[in-house]
């Protein structure tokens, strides 16, 4: 008897499986990112942080600042006031939506900055205002998300590898971001930033502690690969729903009164 054996092409099978899995994967990745971003959607947050800038491994500059943030009516407001060093004491940056103002500590004058300035370095650090000032929707608010890898490894931790590409009509410095979220606890541990095809910066998040019922990273380090500089932000105090945060703080007039 003649037997015909049909051999299934494993690649074709996997491709079909992937096609079937797309809607489920899309829903899953949204959920992964939503859970990872919960701590970044805290409301009315007051924090005190120390920011250290390193050139190579040498500490170059350390600044301290207080930060106030508030989201209401769909608009994110944040105020960052430098307390150290002496040179920067009283210098403050106010962000309301896409608008940015600066108050200079030594002169006391307030200036409104162009929207292009949001792409610039925040206080000479490796963070840009764009990196720091993401809206209440979290890091992924302005990005299209897709799952690259189910089981990537970062320092021995099993992570989801997720690609974030700027949504159409979004004005972003970056071509794309690749984020690593732990599989067991849904925490961001690393984000890679790509500009013009090159991996230019890496954000590392750690020292997660419970704040307002959520895990919040008390340590963030942004490394700029091209300049071999690194900025570490260590949060000393993080207070959600803080009384220190008042609606009246987020105006240029308040900046002038500082």
């Amino acid at each position: 008897m003649k037997t015909t054996v049909i051999r299934a092409d494993p690649w074709l099978f996997l491709a079909l499986l992937a096609l079937l899995a797309v809607p489920a994967a899309a829903a899953e990745v949204d959920e992964i990112v939503r859970r990872a971003e919960e701590p970044f959607t805290l409301q009315r947050v007051y924090s005190v942080s120390e920011m250290s800038i390193y050139h190579g491994n040498q500490p170059a500059k350390t600044v301290e600042f207080e930060s106030y943030s508030l989201t209401s009516g769909g608009v994110t407001r944040s105020l960052l006031v430098y307390t150290e060093p002496l040179r920067m004491r009283g210098t403050a940056y106010l962000t309301v939506g896409d608008d940015l103002w600066v108050r200079f500590g030594l002169t006391g004058r307030v200036r409104k900055l162009s929207s292009a300035a949001r792409r610039g370095s925040a206080g000479g650090s490796d963070f840009s205002y764009e990196d720091l000032g993401e809206g209440s929707g979290g890091i992924s608010e302005s990005y299209r998300i897709s799952l690259l890898e189910e089981r990537a490894s970062v320092d021995g931790r099993q992570c989801f590898e997720i690609e974030l590409v700027p949504a159409p009509a979004t004005d972003s410095t970056y071509d794309r971001l690749v984020a690593y979220i732990t599989r067991d606890s849904y925490r961001y541990v690393e984000i890679h930033y790509y500009e013009s095809g090159a991996h230019t910066k890496t954000l590392t998040l750690s020292d997660y502690r419970e704040v307002g019922g959520m895990d919040y990273p008390f340590f963030m380090s942004m490394r700029t690969h091209a300049s071999r500089t690194r900025t570490e932000i260590v949060a000393e105090t993080v207070e959600p729903d803080s009384d220190a945060v008042r609606e009246s703080m987020f105006t240029p007039e308040y900046l002038e009164s500082l």
Partner: protein, 912 residues
């Protein structure tokens, strides 16, 4: 002697006997082959230029050649003039004096052009046509009402509009802003002088106004203590002779003049680095190479007790090299830097074959064999080992064909065929020369040499060692495996050198000045470039490239050659400015109160700009602005400056006091603006020669765009990002940096690939040779441990792999395997219980080959060039490790397996 001679051994024995007794025929064959190879040699094109290491046929390499040959500025020698903390004037006058010195026609052999500063005449005539229309409009409005108060008011308006809170804008204009603020600092001092009632000479005012509007054309560092001078040489990095002679000559002249001027100077730029590399590669090596050669000759004479031994080894060795070059000529048509360098290693490999044959010959003669029998026995006993060893080494090199970079694949062809050429030359010529020597001795009635008859180097010691291994094989095996494994645990930490500047001599001035240029002048001396024949494409490329985060600036003719629509718009604004400035009248007096208020406002603007500069690490600007307002880095008041004193001085200034100064100031401003207000379109022919030479080909058809990076591009991490970003805009960018990528690829990818491929192919060869998988696996063990120990040692001592010392990988595979193969063959021939004889006899040859090779490679160690030194260390160490594991571990493992465990090592035979 227990005989276990294969047909191959017997054939080789017969061959050796024939070639020695028919020495005329063997030498005649060698001469015939050499004559054929001479044709190949004549076809070889020596390419020892910088380009020879880059991919042949690559469009980028062709572009780079075009750039180097077409744009002399691409080969510029940069002279860093250091005023040793002295005043700005000392630096600028030194630059002028050096420029004059270098323009001396006597130096025209080496100097095509020299530039110490910008062509100020061109800027004075066409400055406004090179300025954005919006800025021309602002300048016109600011000068509608000439005078001190409107000047400072308009300046403050500009600062607040343009820079307030905007670090990015400030960073883009840092150099320009610094130049303007330095001029402003002097202007404030002049106003203060005038406010105190003193007269300020008109020419001083004119100088400062001109400097404020167009700068003074010098390229200085942040505190004006250093400046740059550019020499366009008549040669490029590929003209090795003129480069090596010309640069030191220029250096000497510059140094002598600098001493007279009280400044210090240093030279940099890729041409200078290239010269330093060519010079330092040889420095420190002459003595060590001579000593090494002498030692090797001595070892050979003593070991073989023949004064003619160096000649008997050396002639086939050199002929083997000639044949190798001939093969390279037939196959590749060229020798590049790397394949030429390999010829030295080939001498080291080839002499090993001679040593093995001569050692056995000597041993047989000492045992009483006559000449022909001794040569036959040498080929019979050592020929197989040499043959297999040479084939494995050749395969290890031929495995480089899997490399990514063409230069490595070329090396594979030349090195692989070179080993085979050396093998054939040795098998053909060495017995022939021994026959010739024997014939001459017989003719003269001389017996075998009595030289050093009592000396038997190494044999006794190694025989004793072999005996110890035979008695305690497990101890030797365990100790060696444990030691190898322990060091190997560190092997994964070995790094690859990605910065080729770290391969140069330590403390090399031309390399150190590259970092200084980035720090002090925000200018990297090396960069990628792209050429185009279209100005429109040049413009769009410039715009796109300047958006990249790693690009400081897109440097091209574009700022000097505005587009047609820009020219039309600027011409309109320039005509408007001309009318406004020409018609404006200077007021009779100065409102001191308003002026004081504007000076106060200026103080605040400068402080705020300094804050932004602080945040953005613009150190030069930060220092300049702090100096003007008298603040230290913490913002504390540390000095009183004209900007502080002026408002107070103005309080007591009489109404008409400043009117005279204002009139001269406004007059100078008016004269300069009207001079610059030229609406005539700028054409290529109008542009200063220096600028044209830098960016436009001599036929005017091709334009060069230099993509200046923000950091030193030799740093591998930065270079990777920079090149990736540039490639996102254009795939045609080229530069000397490509060489760095090429070298990094060689070290990172090709070394590993070649090692894996070589190990696989060698394993197959061993299987074919020994026809026993156990023997094949056992033979690989010492090699693998040698690798692990070498990498571990490198990791522990911080020695990195680079594109030169990576040659140790195929060499170690080839030689490491050879040692074990020789022991295998002898052990299988001699039979069980003979390990003492095997180690004593074969070990002596291995010791001699290792000693001569190590002496040769160790002669690189005194080199001041770090790449040569590390190659010397790595290659010597690799050879020493291969010897130790082959002589101490491999015999122990053979004894354990064959004699203790009873596992067959002999070749498997098919049952019939």
């Amino acid at each position: 002697m227990s005989g276990n001679h294969s047909k191959r051994d017997q054939f080789l024995g017969k061959w050796g006997r024939w070639a020695a007794t028919r020495w005329r025929a063997s030498i005649a064959i060698a001469i015939g082959v050499t004559a054929i190879m001479a044709v190949g040699v004549s076809m070889v094109r020596p390419e020892f230029t910088f380009y020879s290491i880059m991919p042949t046929g690559s469009e980028k390499v062709r572009d780079l050649k075009t750039i180097t040959e077409t744009f002399p500025a691409a080969s510029s020698i940069i002279v860093v003039v250091d005023g040793d903390g002295g005043a700005r004037a000392r630096v600028t006058s030194a630059i002028d004096a050096l420029e004059e010195e270098l323009r001396n026609p006597a130096l025209s052999e080496y100097v095509a052009h020299v530039y110490g500063r910008m062509d100020m005449e061109f800027l004075t005539e066409h400055g406004l046509m090179l300025t954005d229309a919006a800025d021309v409009r602002r300048l016109a409005n600011a000068n509608a009402e000439p005078g001190l108060v409107p000047f400072f008011r308009s300046l403050n308006d500009d600062l607040e509009r343009e820079y307030a809170g905007n670090e990015a804008s400030l960073a883009d204009d840092e150099e320009l802003v610094i130049a303007q603020f330095e001029a402003l600092e002097q202007l404030l001092a002049m106003v203060e002088t005038a406010a105190s009632g003193e007269e300020v000479p008109a020419d001083q005012i004119r100088t400062i106004v001109n400097r404020y509007l167009v700068g003074d054309g010098y390229l200085l560092n942040r505190d004006n203590t250093m400046g740059l001078l550019f020499i366009e040489p008549t040669f490029t990095i590929n003209d090795v002779g003129p480069m090596v002679n010309g640069i030191p000559e220029l250096e000497r002249i510059i140094q002598a003049r600098a001493d007279e001027l009280g400044v210090t100077t240093g030279l940099t730029g890729f041409t200078v680095v290239g010269k330093d590399e060519a010079v330092t590669a040889e420095q420190g090596l002459a003595t060590s190479t001579t000593i090494a050669l002498g030692l090797i000759l001595l070892v050979i004479i003593v070991a073989f007790r023949m004064f003619s031994a160096p000649l008997i080894c050396g002639v086939p060795l050199v002929i083997g090299v000639v044949w190798t070059i001939g093969v390279a000529g037939f196959v590749l048509r060229r020798l590049n830097i790397m394949t030429a360098m390999y010829m030295v290693a080939l001498l080291g490999l080839g002499i090993d074959y001679a040593i093995h044959m001569l050692t056995t010959y000597r041993q047989e003669r000492d045992a009483g064999a006559d000449f022909a029998d001794a040569v036959g026995a040498a080929f019979n006993k050592s020929g197989s080992g040499v043959l297999t060893g040479a084939l494995t080494t050749a395969v290890a090199f031929l495995a480089l064909q899997v490399g990514e970079s063409p230069i490595v694949r070329e090396l594979g062809v030349v090195a692989g065929s070179g080993v085979l050429c050396e093998l054939i030359a040795m098998f053909l010529i060495l017995p022939g020369l021994l026959g010739l020597r024997n014939h001459r001795n017989a003719k003269r009635g001389r017996a075998e040499s009595r030289l050093l008859r009592r000396v038997s180097p190494g044999a006794t010691l190694l025989g004793g060692l072999g005996g110890a291994i035979g008695k305690r094989p497990l101890v030797f095996a365990l100790v060696m495996v444990a030691a190898g494994a322990a060091i190997s645990t560190q092997a994964s930490d070995v790094e690859i050198e990605g910065n080729i500047m770290n391969m140069e001599a330590k403390g090399l001035e031309s390399v150190e000045l590259q970092d200084l240029m980035v720090e002090e002048f925000s200018m990297a001396p090396d960069f990628l470039s792209v050429t185009t024949t279209s100005l429109a494409e040049l413009r769009s490329l410039s715009e796109e490239l300047e958006e990249l985060s790693t690009v400081e600036m897109a440097d091209s003719i574009i700022p000097y050659l505005p587009a047609e629509d820009e020219t039309t718009e600027r011409a309109r604004e320039i005509r408007r400015l001309w009318r406004i400035v020409a018609e404006a009248s200077v007021p009779d007096n100065v409102d001191a109160g308003s002026l004081a208020a504007e000076v106060d406002r200026l103080w605040m603007n400068i402080v705020e700009m300094a804050d932004l500069a602080y945040f953005s690490d613009m150190d030069r600007l930060f220092a300049t602005l702090n100096r003007i307002v008298g603040l230290d880095a913490d913002g504390q008041k540390v000095a009183e400056t004209p900007i502080d004193r002026l408002p107070f001085a103005l309080e007591s200034t009489a109404a008409g006091e400043l009117a005279g100064f204002q009139e001269r100031f406004a007059g100078a401003m008016r004269a300069m603006l009207l001079s610059m207000a030229n609406p005539e379109p700028v054409t290529l022919q109008m542009i200063p020669e220096r600028v044209r030479n830098s960016y436009v080909s001599p036929d005017g058809n091709r334009f060069l765009l230099n993509i200046i990076p923000k950091q030193n591009p030799w740093e591998p991490e930065f270079r990777s990002i920079y090149t990736t970003q540039v490639e996102s805009v254009t795939d045609r960018a080229t530069g000397m940096l490509l060489a760095a990528d090429q070298m990094f690829t060689i070290a990172r990818v090709d070394g590993v690939r070649a090692a894996i491929a070589a190990l696989v192919v060698i394993f197959v060869l061993l299987l074919l040779d020994f026809r026993n998988p156990v023997t094949a696996i056992v033979t690989l063990l010492p090699l693998l441990l040698s690798f692990g120990a070498l990498f571990g040692f490198m990791a522990l001592t911080g020695i990195k792999f680079d594109f030169i010392n990576i040659l140790a990988v195929p060499l170690l595979i080839g030689i490491g395997i050879d040692d074990a193969v020789h022991i295998n063959h002898r052990y299988l021939q001699e039979g069980p219980g003979t390990i003492s004889t095997v180690v004593g006899k074969t070990g002596t040859a291995l010791l001699l080959t290792s000693v001569t090779t190590i002496i040769g490679f160790a002669s690189f160690i005194p080199s001041i060039m770090r790449a040569m030194r590390s190659s010397g260390i790595v290659l010597s160490l690799a050879m020493a490790l291969a010897f130790l594991f082959s002589v101490l571990l491999h015999p122990a493992v053979l004894v354990l397996i064959r004699e203790k465990l009873g596992i067959r090592l002999e070749p498997w035979r098919l049952r019939t």
